[in-house]
Symmetry: C2
Subunit: 124 residues, 2 copies
């Protein structure tokens, strides 16, 4: 089934048909590392959920704590915490502790850029 090695000839007619073997070959050669693809997908996936996206957009203004975000989004603090963990694992937000309170904020400018471009694209 997995014939990764076998390079496809022009107008190949094996199980995996392909019209432009040269393009497929170039795509293979310039492909990102599997690890990078997984990490990238994880980053975009973290932003892809409406709840998490609203969190990120809110954090564009200023840091907020878990219960602020829960109140803003009208979800439980548990749900907010779960989502924040995912955002933190993917380095989209970071937390700064001040006593009992954890202030979440956007991790860096990459995140801001992604949000800006995403919004611009959504408004097209």
């Amino acid at each position: 089934m997995t014939n990764k090695r076998k390079s496809h000839q022009e107008t190949d007619r094996c199980q995996v048909r392909c019209i432009h073997a040269d393009r497929v070959e170039r795509a293979r050669q310039t492909a990102a590392l599997p690890d990078e693809v997984i990490r990238m997908a994880g980053i975009f996936g973290a932003i892809a959920d409406p709840t998490r996206l609203k969190m990120l957009l809110a954090l564009q203004n200023e840091p907020m704590c878990v219960c602020d975000l829960a109140a803003f989004l009208e979800i439980s603090e548990s749900a907010a915490s779960h989502q924040l963990r995912r955002l933190k694992d993917r380095f989209l937000v970071k937390a700064r502790r001040e006593g009992q309170i954890l202030y979440y904020s956007l991790d860096d400018d990459h995140v801001r850029h992604l949000l800006e471009i995403g919004l611009a694209h959504a408004r097209e």
Copy 2:
């Protein structure tokens, strides 16, 4: 259950607790429109899947047809077509027909930017 109107006072202790009512209020005022959030989430969601992400990365080079992409990704053409539809619906790719063949390519520079920033963030 839904008390959207009721603005929260400082150190509110109702069902939906929130420590910084002012921040929640500002978040509410600057919040993107529900429609925009949904569209944005859809865009990021379209990129979030490893298969679709690899498609987009491959299309950074040059246009490719369905069966090229299927061959590159080692998935069925049906699966490729399904994924391409989602990418097209979200305006991440566009298709140009040339006879029987549909050449897919990135829709615009927003998409390129998103991929670039995403990759940069993944490599950090």
